[in-house]
């Protein structure tokens, strides 16, 4: 019993200090609490996961792609029309990375004085944005989400930050695509993203993330104002998402196949050959 008592007492002693610190910090930051979901203009062609939520997906995004990467995109869609996966590794549960990870899921912002965490869900997990004033590291480990440094701004000089500016650099892992058609980012994976997060001036339940993509697959920087709506339910459902749980797309060699109801490979393309079984011993009759 003495052990149990001491176990309980320690957190109770710490609690008032922690509470004071949190209250102090909260007064400096905007209220981004809750669950945020991307606002999509209804009635547009294609899937909801796309960079510009006000335009149709794929070609309809009107991405300023170079001629070389327009062809990458067209080839991707042509492959998909035959049953392939195109330029979209997310189909096999690879993380989408930046910027796709800001186009899907139910978002939650955890604001700490030195770091902001954006819980993402979906094929991606979270973003970590450093706001502790650190310089850019000499070397950055390759990742899907990139390395993000943010800076809080108090535009109204009232002692409360209202804008978060973030720069995210690679090197990234890839290939990455903006949407399910395989709308590509450059295969050099050297994109840079500049973002500005702020609450809407007239509706505090809408959050803006104005993202500018600087990428060698683009003829110029591409800027999109992504908006998110706060769930009015302050105790929303937070659904688990494990992509491998129900994934049926399997790539063997360079070919993708589809799993049957009983877990066997089926062709994804018309007249597709079975996979290469060179490493399986086959009995000769």
């Amino acid at each position: 019993m003495p052990c149990r008592s001491s176990f309980v007492i320690i957190p109770l002693l710490l609690l008032p200090v922690a509470t004071i610190a949190m209250a102090h910090d909260a007064s400096k930051y905007p209220n981004w609490q809750g669950q945020w979901t991307v606002i999509i203009t209804p009635g547009l062609e294609g899937q909801a996961v796309k960079f510009d939520p006000t335009k149709p997906w794929g070609r309809g995004q009107e991405a300023p792609l170079t001629a070389e990467y327009q062809k990458v995109h067209e080839d991707s869609m042509a492959d998909q029309a035959k049953g392939g996966l195109g330029n979209y590794p997310t189909a096999t549960c690879h993380p989408g990375g930046m910027p796709r990870m800001m186009s899907v899921g139910e978002y939650e912002y955890i604001i700490e004085p030195e770091t902001i965490y954006i819980l993402v869900g979906g094929e991606d997990h979270y973003r970590r944005i450093f706001t502790d004033g650190r310089p850019w590291p000499a070397e950055i480990a390759r990742s899907y989400a990139g390395y993000s440094i943010g800076k809080w701004i108090d535009e109204h000089n009232n002692g409360r930050f209202n804008v978060l500016e973030v720069e995210t650099r690679g090197p990234f892992k890839g290939p990455r695509a903006y949407d399910g058609t395989g709308l590509p980012l450059h295969f050099d994976n050297e994109s840079v993203f500049k973002e500005s997060f702020f609450l809407d001036k007239t509706d505090p339940n809408i959050l803006h993330d104005v993202i500018t993509v600087i990428d060698h697959a683009l003829t110029r920087p591409w800027t999109v104002d992504k908006t998110y709506r706060r769930n009015p339910n302050l105790r929303p459902d937070w659904r688990e998402f494990y992509c491998v749980e129900g994934n049926v797309h399997t790539v063997i060699g360079k070919e993708n196949y589809y799993l049957s109801a009983d877990g066997f490979l089926m062709p994804a393309k018309k007249d597709q050959a079975p996979p290469d079984l060179r490493y399986f011993k086959r009995s000769s009759k």
Binding site: Q80, G182, E245, A261
Partner: protein
Amino acid sequence: MVTSGVTVAHHSFAMFDKENPIDLEGIVQEFKYVSPHSFILLRVKDQDGATTVWNLEGGAPSILARDGWTSTALKPGDQIILRIAPLQSGAPGGSWSVDKIKFKDGQPIVVGH
């Protein structure tokens, strides 16, 4: 806001032949309410009397939930009819959407939707 019929998906659905949909009638073997996509495993009798189990890919649970679906919306043994976009390859698989599925007796899967 995302609306019914718009898919939050982790892959293109171009592998399914939307231009040539087919109607299926069968018995639910299993309803997988899982990420990234839900699946209905449907036992379908062929014209020669043999049974084939179709793997039918639907919306993500997060999207189905917005249309009132839950993990128990379909149960093993339920008889349903639905219109699917079959796999381009001709294998027994395809995609379905909430607006093209109902119980065999005509009742909606989710009341009010």
